[in-house]
Structure formats: C-alpha cells, structure tokens
C-alpha cells in the first residue's frame, strides 16, 4: 500500500467516487418503487386518519354554526334533569335536497360530537360533503314513524365511525330550528344492502301502523366494506321547544360557539 504511487491512489479514489455517483436504471427504478410505496402509505394515513380528523372538525364547526343560527348563541342553561311534557312534538317540513336542517349530538361518539343532518342520501351531494343525510322517503325528527339517516363509517369525516359502540340507553339528541328531540338507543341490526325494511315506519313490518317515534341510523358493515349495513334504532324519549333550552347533557355544547 505505502509503495503505491500517489497518482494511482488518487485515480482509484476518483473511480470509486464516480462509481458511487453513477445512476443506474435499476437504481432509479428501485428508488421510484420505494417512493411509490411511501406515497401509498402516506395516502392511507391521510385517508383513514388525518382526513377524518380534518373533515370531522370542519363538520363539527358547520354544525355549531347552524345550531347557533337558531339560538343566536343565547341558550338558557337549565342543568336540572327534569323532563317536561310539552305534548306532541312539533315536526318540521322536509327541506330542499342537500339542505342542512338539523344537528345531531351523540355523547357516545365524543364529548364535543355534533354533525349536521342534511336532506337526501346522495353520496356525492350529501354524504361525501355534509356528513349525515336523511332518507327523504322517511319521516322528520319527532314524527310518529321512522326518522332514518345515513352516514359514512369510514372516510369523508366518518360521522358514524363509532356506530358499533352505541350502548342501549345512550342518548342521541337532534336539534332543529324548532326543537330538541331526545332519542334513546334501543338496538342494532345488520342487514343486506337491499334491506329497505329498516326504513319502514315500523321497521321490518311493512303493513303495521306506527305508534312509536323512531330514529334509525344506517352505515356500512363491516368497516371499510359494503357487504352489509349496520342499523341502529333509537326511540324518542322526550322533546322540548328551542325556547325551553337544550337538554342538560348537551347544554354546554349548544351554547359553545364551537
């Protein structure tokens, strides 16, 4: 080694350096493949996690705005758990398609969970954009029969991501411009994608006259799949006009500007 002339050593070093820098086809293809792999993982992370956080937060803000537009941010904070009987619930008329007409609060889905409910179940015009959509063929909140809504369980903000976590007795609150409706979760069911019986005024009993006031939520099942539908039924427990203030459990959420 030490006997080697300096010029040869320098030449060798130069060759080695050039070798390292040489761009080969295999090298470029390999780097492109690695890049593609990283991009796919980034996309999945975005689609399944980050975007749901971002969109979910936006949907929450929109719902807060809608709620505030009805109460002007002024609500009487009545923290007593007294259920007053206001008679038959007021029922609003169905609005135009894609119009947000109600706000849903589900404490089981998160302490600050609130989402708008819009008219119609178009995937592109309602579900991908606004969150929860109302089946136009079913009743409105508070009405005798079935108030049926649908929302994504994954992606696009995933308003019903925790639909499988509802427990019997969980409260689901629906606010319209007129009233607050308190529904109580009753049971869950999985049906085929064609299982339209869940939308009947008395679900699965087509020719029976309804007497109860139900809320039906539909989403996909299992997660990330369209093989089945998960259905969650709730029953109206009570209602109160907006002037009476929100139910105590969501009073802070309703008064919060978001």
């Amino acid at each position: 080694m030490t006997d080697e002339p300096a010029t040869t050593r320098a030449a060798k070093l130069r060759t080695r350096k050039r070798d390292r820098r040489r761009v080969t086809v295999v090298g470029v293809v390999g780097e492109l493949l690695i890049t593609a792999g990283v991009l796919v993982f980034l996309f999945l992370g975005w689609q399944l996690w980050l975007n749901d956080l971002i969109v979910g937060d936006q949907q929450n803000q929109v719902a807060a705005g809608l709620s505030n537009s009805w109460t002007s941010g002024n609500v009487s904070l009545n923290h007593e758990q007294v259920i007053t009987d206001y008679g038959d619930p007021v029922v609003m008329k169905a609005p135009a398609e894609a119009q947000a007409f109600a706000v849903m609060y589900v404490p089981r889905f998160g302490a600050d969970y609130r989402r708008t409910i819009s008219e119609g179940i178009s995937t592109t015009r309602v579900l991908n954009k606004n969150g929860i959509g109302h089946y136009g063929t079913t009743q409105m909140p508070g009405a005798i029969g079935n108030f049926a809504v649908a929302a994504h369980r994954t992606t696009y903000g995933a308003p019903f991501s925790k639909i499988a976590e509802l427990r019997v007795g969980d409260k689901i609150y629906v606010q319209t411009k007129d009233a607050f409706y308190t529904y109580v979760f009753r049971n869950r069911e999985t049906v085929s994608p064609q299982g339209v019986g869940v939308l009947d005024p008395v679900p699965q009993f087509r020719d029976v006259d309804p007497t109860a006031r139900l809320l039906t939520m539909t989403s996909c099942n299992p997660k990330f799949s369209a093989a089945e539908r998960m259905i969650a039924y709730s029953v109206l427990e009570s209602w109160q006009p907006v002037s009476a203030g929100p139910p105590a459990a969501i009073a802070n959420l309703v008064s919060a500007k978001g």
Partner: protein, 52 residues
Amino acid sequence: MYGALWHILPGPAWVRVLILVVLLAAILFCLIEWIFPWVNSMLPTPDVTVDE
C-alpha cells in the same frame, strides 16, 4: 436519482438538508391539498344506505 439530487443541490450539507425539508413540506402540502382528495374521489366509497 436521490443521490444525484443531493449532488445537484448547492451549499454545505445543512443548507442542502434545509432545502430538502422545504421541498418535502411543499410536496406534502400539494399531496394533502389536491392530489389525495382527487385520488380519493376516484376510489369507490363503501355504500352506507339501503336501497332496492
């Protein structure tokens, strides 16, 4: 490819790292802001409604 990019960039190592970080941030922003939503709209969404 990425080796070549490193050699093309000017300045000392820390300047090159800085440039790369800025470049990466810009690429990530474009991905999240435009490219991912576009790809997402091309993918099928699991249906959540019941119908005949």
